[in-house]
């Protein structure tokens, strides 16, 4: 049996100082970070008033609530809930479409290959960022102040919030487009508008359509939420039933939302695939 030569420890130690004698700071970095993170966590628990007694009574309450939710039962309000669900879907579809239609022309202004001037692009980009920085719920509250309670405020809130998101996404899609086709249009004597219409749009539109569909999907969720502050749809019903402690109706409404979201997921997945074809679904 052959035997490996015995390693010379001192020589190895001298050869690889980083492995054998790591400085204390690198050795202690990970444990220190974990301890630090945990300390902040404990501080947070204490500061936010997590007492065991409170947790315990809350959990038993929650247990009761869950028990009372079974079985889900809409009572006599099923038609009202269905129409509220329709309202929510309408809010999502309409809000997203309005946002996309408005964002497309403006996003051209934020794309590097259309507007080369940094000076012009910068304010448009910052405007998109600021709009995105404000949550959809806050926009809903603002629009309720303007057009009153109801689903219309929800549409406008989603439209404004998504305008910011779409502006960024569209301008990125436009920047990623291939230059050659635009150059081809220019070479055959097309104007700037022709370049955008025939060189850029055919490349960009499928990507944009995919993003819009994806947003309709995620906005179905947002549209449920904005109802809670009074902007129509199924969220309004949900918040009301929670406030009056009708737990069976609450669980039914939650189930309805889950089913609707799953259905929209499925449909928009199919549509996205049909539009984008074999390309990766982003």
């Amino acid at each position: 049996m052959s035997q490996l030569p015995k390693p010379d420890r001192d020589q190895l130690r001298a050869k690889y100082p980083d492995v054998f004698d790591r400085p204390a700071e690198t050795r202690l970095a990970t444990p220190a970070m974990i301890v630090g993170a945990f300390a902040v966590f404990v501080f947070g628990l204490v500061n936010l008033d997590f007492s065991p007694a409170r947790l315990w009574s809350g959990l038993s309450q929650l247990g009761w609530i869950t028990l009372m939710m079974i079985p889900p039962d809409p009572g006599s309000s099923l038609p009202a809930y269905l129409s509220a669900l329709g309202e929510t879907l309408s809010i999502a579809v309409l809000g997203t479409t309005v946002a996309a239609v408005l964002a497309l022309p403006v996003s051209l202004l934020a794309a590097r290959n259309i507007i080369p001037s940094q000076l012009l692009r910068f304010p448009v980009r910052r405007a998109f960022d600021s709009i995105r920085g404000v949550d959809t719920l806050i926009w809903a509250l603002v629009w309720i102040n303007v057009v009153g309670l109801g689903p219309f405020a929800g549409v406008l809130a989603i439209a404004v919030a998504d305008f910011g998101a779409f502006g960024k996404l569209f301008s990125e899609a436009i920047e990623a487009a291939d230059k050659k086709q635009v150059e081809g249009i220019r070479a055959s004597g097309g104007t700037a508008l022709h370049e955008i219409r025939f060189g850029l749009m055919p490349q960009v539109l499928p990507v944009i359509a995919g993003q819009v569909l994806y947003f309709i999907e995620s906005n179905t969720r947002s549209a449920t939420i904005i109802g809670i502050v009074g902007a129509g749809g199924i969220g309004l019903q949900l918040a009301e039933q929670i406030r009056v402690l009708e737990w069976q109706k609450v669980s039914f409404l939650i189930l309805m939302i889950l089913v609707a979201v799953a259905a929209i997921d499925w449909i928009s997945g199919k549509l996205r695939f049909a539009i984008i074809g074999q390309r990766a679904i982003a």
Binding site: D49, G58, L59, L137, W143, I228
Partner: protein, 294 residues
């Protein structure tokens, strides 16, 4: 020098032209049909959502002037002319903002730990049993499909008003979202180390600990940081339903028409979100290099 372009003989060309025209016509027809369907859906949606363009036109001035009003102090001057008056409540707001960040921090931590505990069961390559995988996946799906604020509404009923409800709501939602992402990282992990560890006679636990975990921790931390960023936004509206944080102040200011307060709080929130975005982006870059910052 001129080059003659050779043209196909007439009948052959006519056939090709015909085929081309037919293909174009088919495409146009499909586009038109799609457009008509889409507009029909839009019209139905517009009726469903009680869209009233007249209201919009009548009140659009209100929307614009709303921003004018929130940027005006009570004495009629612009807010930036007197920052001390504009941010009169900065002490309280910063305190609430700190609470908001703490809510999202604690919520993200709890969510990440729970997601960590569950994700090995949800990943295809490491799950010990198909039924367990199915159950865990459905559970995670439920946790991330129900919006956090709905959980918050229910938890406010169970745990009372205050940040506890917000933390738990964010924790559950983060569990769902992170559990899915974590399990996807595990599914992308290299399985050869697992085989190596198993060949030494190790159990499932040791396989996960010594073969999978070293590959995936960086990804976990990166996603958790990203989630923290998202949760700060989420926590800033938790106060709308009474679940703690700065949202409470904001909703009071909006509902009671304290105009300059609205803009002051909004500015504080936006600036905080920007700072946290940049800070976590920087931290992710520091910790995991440029390519994992997605």
């Amino acid at each position: 020098m001129t080059t003659a372009v050779s043209i196909l003989p007439g009948p052959q060309l006519a056939a090709l032209n015909d085929a081309y025209r037919q293909a174009v016509a088919r495409k146009r027809l499909r586009m038109t049909l799609a457009a008509v369907t889409f507009f029909a859906v839009l019209i139905v949606a517009a009726i469903g959502a009680e869209v009233n363009l007249r209201t919009l036109f009548t009140f659009f001035g209100n929307f614009v002037s709303y921003f004018d009003r929130i940027l005006t102090l009570e004495d009629g001057t612009r807010v930036w002319s007197n920052p001390a008056e504009w941010f009169w409540g900065w002490r309280k707001w910063l305190w609430m903002l700190g609470e908001t960040i703490l809510i999202s921090y604690v919520g993200t931590m709890i969510g990440a730990v729970l997601a960590f505990a569950l994700n090995f069961f949800a990943a295809q390559n490491t799950s010990p049993a198909p039924w367990l995988r199915f159950a865990v996946r459905r559970l995670l799906e439920f946790a991330r499909t129900v919006p956090a604020i709905v959980f918050a509404l229910i938890f406010v009923m169970a745990f009372g008003l205050g940040p506890v409800a917000g933390v738990l709501a964010i924790a559950i939602h983060s569990t769902g979202a992170l559990g899915k992402l974590f399990s996807e990282i595990v599914e992308n992990a290299d399985m050869k180390p697992v085989e190596g560890v198993r060949s030494t006679g190790a159990g499932w636990m040791s396989c996960m600990r010594f073969a999978v975990l070293p590959q995936v921790t960086a990804g976990y931390a990166s996603y958790a940081l990203l989630r923290f960023e998202i949760n700060v936004r989420e926590a800033s509206v938790m106060g709308f339903v009474g679940a703690g944080g700065i949202g409470q102040e904001l909703v009071v200011a909006i509902r009671k028409f304290y105009y300059s307060d609205v803009s002051a709080i909004l500015v504080t929130i936006i600036v905080t979100v920007f700072i946290i975005d940049i800070a976590t982006g920087w931290l992710r870059g520091r910790l995991f290099g440029k390519d994992s910052s997605a």
